[in-house]
Structure formats: C-alpha cells, structure tokens
Amino acid sequence: MAGRVIVVTSGKGGVGKTTTVANIGTGLALQQKKVVMIDTDIGLRNLDVVMGMESGIIYDVVDLAEGECRSTRQSLVRNRRFKNLFLLPASQTRNKDAITPEQMREIVDELKEEFDYVLIDCPAGIERGFDNAVAAASEAIVVTIPEVPAVRDADRIIGLWLNAKEKDKEKKEPVLVLNRLRPDMVRKEEMLGVDDINHTLAIKLLGIIPEDEEIIIATNKGEPVILNQHSRAGEAFKNIVRRLEGETVPFMSFDTGIIGRFWNMLHGK
C-alpha cells in the first residue's frame, strides 16, 4: 500500500512549518514508521538544520529532479539516530523555479511506494514553491499562530488547497495546527484563543502547541523537541503524531483553574 503524502504549509513565514515537519517526522519514526521528509524551500533550506542532519548532504531535490544522482535513494540523507527516517534536502543555491510541480509529483510517486509517510515542508508564500509542495500531496496540515496576519494567511492557504482539491480528488480536507499558543495571554484576553481561530478557519484541529522555549533550545541542538520528555510542546507534538495514526487523543488542557496555574508556576511557565 502506498504511503501517505502530507504537505505542511502556512502561507506566512516563521510560524513553525519546519519545526512541525521535523517533530512529526521524528515522532512517526519513533513509532517505527518509515518516513521521508522533503524540504521544498529551495534556496532557503532549513529542515536539515532543525533536524541536525546538515552534515552529510551531498545531493538535493533539484539534483534528483535533474537526474544528477544515480538513484532516488542516493539523494536521501539518513538520520543517524533513527534508521527509518530520511531527508530529501532542498537545494541552497538554486531557486523555486528550478523544479516543476510535475517533477515533484514524479519524485513523490516513487517515494510513497517505499515509505509509510512522505512529509513535505512547504515554503512560505503562494507562488511556485507552494505549487511544487502541494502538487503531489493528498493531505495538508495548515500551521498558524494566534496572530491576525498568520490566521489571515492560513485562511488564504486553506482556500487555495480547497481549489486544488476541486481538481484533484485524491486531496482530503485540510487540518489545522495552532502553534505558539500562550495560555497566560489567552486567559487575559490578550491573545486569540483556540475557539476564536477554530471558529474562523472552520477546519478540523489536529493539534495545539503551546509556546515553549524548549523549542529554541531543541533547534540550537538540532534535536526535535519531541525527543525532550519534559517539554509541553514535545508532548503536544506526540499527541499530533498519535492523532495522525488514527488515535483519538484529547487536546491538552492549558489549565486556567487554580491547580493548572500552580502547575504552570512549578514548571516556570
């Protein structure tokens, strides 16, 4: 059976697409799934760094599209810790036009025969890079943060995905990841809450990731935060992975009650 092809997209930059791909990819690998992550942000590659896989890159997605490698396998970088986790890096020296949606489709069609999951890290924007990333995907995870510009862009991206879905019946309903939520600010009504965003965008919620400085530390180290047992964000990503695998997992409670606040205080949040 062919693997699932999921694009992670957002419209706006800097909301956590790459972090989301890295953590979901690692989480699925932890569950013994065979996973390949594709960085389609050609010219501005970052997934390799977030994954701590930047050393050992020889070929990239453009080389593969242009037939510079002997095989598809040769273009993939294998994770040192998880032998079932691979990365197809973006090219750092070319631009988005170096590859076409048709070429992406060919690459992905081959990969999905061998892997359980093909995760595509989409660049910011709605131009060629977006078309490339979305072309071969049948599922979409839209990442946003609780800020007006990011939610606006997410809405636009959802519209574009739904348009693409009209033409490509393989494509499914998009799902939402709400990243960098600050329960303390939501409590004070100084931040859009889960319900506000859910109500506005009206797509199924896949997960809520609380703001967590452990993510910065994880990125410094090149070890996705999902590997950190003490991180709330890591826990939230684990829940997302379980939901992708079909489990029903309740959403994490960002307790607003006295006990929750005491808990947060104890954990320095």
Binding site: V148, R152, D155, R156, G159, E189, E190, L192, T200
Partner: protein, 83 residues
C-alpha cells in the same frame, strides 16, 4: 496585576478585525460565490418585479466596523400579480 486598565483587552479587536479582513479576502478569492448569489437574487426578485439585469450591481464590502452586502437593482416595472 493592573488595578486600573486603560485599554480593554486586545483580543476582541483581533477577532473583529480578522472577521472583516476575511470577509474581504474570501469575497475576492471566491467571486464564484457572488455570482451564484446574483443569480439566486434575480430568480427571487423576478417573481415580483421586472429588473434590469444588465445594470444590476452586487458587492460585498467591508467598512471599518462591519461587512455589508450592497445590491443596486434597477426595477423596470412591478408585476401586478404573481403569474
């Protein structure tokens, strides 16, 4: 904790601004929706009055405070009775 807060919490502003922005954005993305609406309005109104479809104008607009559906529909004549 602030005892005297000068401004109301900003979330309500974010919600309202987002609502208006999206009304505008979505109307441009899906001009097809406005076209469907136009056809249905013509069908509904035509039962009672004869209208000038050529001159008819429907727009979804957003002001600072609210979203509005503005329709300008020239009436040619009012029907005497339902046919």
């Amino acid at each position: 904790m602030k005892l005297f807060r000068e401004d109301p919490p900003s979330k309500s502003q974010a919600v309202e601004r987002l609502r208006l922005i999206l009304v505008h954005d979505r109307a441009q993305v899906s001009t097809g929706l406005i076209e469907l609406l136009r056809v249905e309005i013509i069908n509904a109104i035509s039962k009672y009055v004869e209208i000038d479809e050529e001159q008819m104008d429907i727009q979804l607009t957003a002001s600072k405070t609210k979203a509005e559906l503005v329709a300008n529909i020239p009436v040619v004549k009012v029907r005497r009775a339902l046919d």
